[in-house]
Symmetry: none
Subunit: 409 residues, 2 copies
């Protein structure tokens, strides 16, 4: 059982809006165990939309469309689908009543001819009431194919899908999908592939799929079973195997970010944290405090961008800055130690580096970063040579700092 | 001249990631005056990818693919495109050298067999060097059709498109599109539409299109002319008209963020800035320091998350915190004034509020935020009642703070 999704809307083709419905529908289909093989985006053009619907019917069991159900002349999806399937449109009084009531509620007049267009539905379809808008959706079953026509606005399509379409599809799918992720920092996708490549290619249930985000790698382990319990057991066993093999580069087996994992551990282990940042300029503090509950473990942070600020607030000796420079092992160490003393935090982290594009030299190039971490056990400084633009260097630096905190716990 | 875009990636079909490349490519194509009629998403599957490439070649002049160029066995886009067009792959030494250098720079070993795969390119293609990753892209011209094969990661495809593909496409298009943006903070899209709605609907050259991002509104004025000079003249006149009508809610007529506009003005007017943040936890400092050159005007920032930190570093009187609470007009004022004294900056900005989800009360609900700004002219505090989740509240707070700095200059 596989599906093709067609988003109808010239505004997507013009790049004016992101196709967030595609992500929503795809995630939901994966969850009920229906494969999506193709997604298509097409504009509000009769010829091209007809072509897209025909192509989809030729290669998919289920075709889901979104958009183009409104009252204007541009809205042609339902009309094109009905024509392609050879179905006449019939007036549905219940749908019209829903439209009337919505306008009444909003105390607004409406253009009867325009709005009536939305109540004409393909003959014999299952009508999906729109509780958050005027245009109803519908499900059409014909010759073993299913076409599901849905509205475009996310606040209309999402509840309609969850309330009406998902239960309908669940009955069609013999499978339950269950998946978990393994989140990795400090080992690239290529290296992970080297270790698990063969298993990834050969595994069928559960499957193992890698994907890389800037600086991080994720493995998703997915099983397709007839019961959730069976899937859970298969996945848990594989996740445990992989984690044992990978060791401490795995920072989580939940769907959480590195910042979330770190804040959670700080809270559960009752360790407080303070940070002092130069080149990241508040990015680390921002990442930490973006997580709800961070106030339990985070009391303060400094952005000591200038040398004077490093001396004034963190008591970095002037000599250290003079002899070794602001971007050095020694300054990172002095910043972390000064910060721990000033703040009284259990863990004090310092960052100093050159994020670029300016400020680099042959000796100290753009991308050179030192991260210091000071705990009751002592101080440790890590030197990094990062690639990329200013934004990327700052982002990677924050991930490395978070990973050092995780490892210190 | 029309184009079809094919995104290759099972992770998009599974709903694991948003197809942001589609929006990027679509916007860029619109700008060079090339129509996009279809977008397709297909997984890392040889049969279906071949089918998608064939279908696209049958209905479009230009086919652009993204994704599936990496070193793993899953990455098959280049191979499928070459096979479909009947082209052999040839080893490109320059591409391999680029890969070698990248690994060398990162001080990392690499698997030769895996990485080499990326240096095999379709015979006779124009190779597009990847300055931000290992996999090169390419342009293939055959029988009046053009296929452009690009990498998937946004930080690779975006610079490659802007540096190599856009200039190439611009030469193919008979039109020159010229556009400028008007960036607005403090007036919603609906209000802008109320003022300019009729002009937007009737205007043909230049056109005026609004789009709203969280908290900001942008108007894009675009002309389609045969010469750039002609377009520039039409657009400049319309931009001037709109700016006169809107007044000081316009913060820029360049394509820059509010943070960029603020940092630029601080630099040109030689004013220094310091910030003290509670609920935004470093977000404002991060926004400022994300702009190259910020070190000229930004020396220090504080994340005073706890009451103790507010007292210790900003000299907020204990009494103020006791009587009015941390989230109050009085505390914001004391933070800004304390900060200006401690830092010696020309402009001192403080933020205190409740970002949620916890911490709210009937009297002080989630979304209540005070922003203080202290200059030699005195102190001013703005009270906000924001809606949304933690992330949204923090983001909007930063925009408001930046706007207050802009207005203070």
């Amino acid at each position: 059982m596989n599906c093709e999704y067609i988003a109808v809307g010239t505004e997507i083709l013009l790049g004016q809006i992101l196709n967030t419905n595609a992500k929503f529908i795809s995630e939901e289909l994966a969850e009920v165990g229906i494969d999506m093989y193709y997604q298509t985006v097409v504009g509000d053009n009769e010829g091209r939309l007809t072509d897209a619907v025909r192509t989809a019917l030729g290669r998919a069991d289920i075709v889901i469309t979104s958009g183009g159900l409104g009252p204007t002349n541009d809205d042609i999806t339902k009309e094109v689908v009905a024509k392609t399937l050879g179905l006449p449109l019939e007036f549905d009084e219940a749908s019209m009543e829903n439209i009337r009531q919505r306008f009444c509620k909003m105390h607004r007049d409406y253009n009867k001819t325009l709005q009536e267009k939305q109540a004409y539905m393909p003959k014999g379809c299952i009508i999906l009431k729109n509780n958050n808008g005027t245009a109803p959706g519908c499900i059409i079953e014909q010759n073993g194919k299913i076409v599901i026509v849905l509205p475009g606005p996310p606040k209309e399509i999402q509840p309609m899908f969850l309330e009406s379409v998902k239960p309908y599809l669940r009955k069609l799918s013999p499978y339950q999908l269950y998946s978990r992720v393994i989140k990795i920092f400090g080992m690239g996708e290529a290296n992970v592939e080297e270790i698990f490549g063969e298993r990834m290619r050969k595994a069928t249930n559960p499957t193992i799929a890698p994907y890389a985000k800037e600086g991080e790698t994720t493995l998703r382990v997915t099983s397709k079973c007839s019961t959730r319990e069976e899937g859970e057991a298969l996945v848990s066993k594989e996740v445990a195997n992989i984690c044992t093999r990978l060791g401490d580069v795995v920072y989580s087996t939940e769907d959480e970010t590195l910042a979330e994992a770190v804040v959670k551990r700080l809270i559960s282990s009752k360790h407080t944290l303070a940070v002092a940042e130069s080149c990241t300029g508040g990015y680390l503090a921002q990442s930490i405090t973006s997580i709800p509950g961070a106030s339990e473990i985070f009391s303060e942070g400094f952005v000591t961008y200038s040398n004077e600020a490093k001396q004034k607030y963190l008591n970095v000796p002037e000599k250290t800055l003079e002899i070794y420079g602001a971007v050095s092992d020694e300054t990172a160490k002095a910043m972390a130690e000064g910060l721990r003393e000033v703040s009284g935090a259990d863990i004090a982290v310092s960052i100093t580096g050159i994020a670029g594009p300016g400020g680099g030299s042959a000796e100290k190039p753009v991308g050179l970063v030192y991260i210091g971490i000071c705990t009751k056990l002592g101080t440790n400084v890590k030197k990094l040579n990062l690639n990329g633009n200013r934004e990327h260097i700052r982002y990677l630096t924050v991930l490395h700092a978070l990973d050092m905190i995780r490892r210190a716990l």
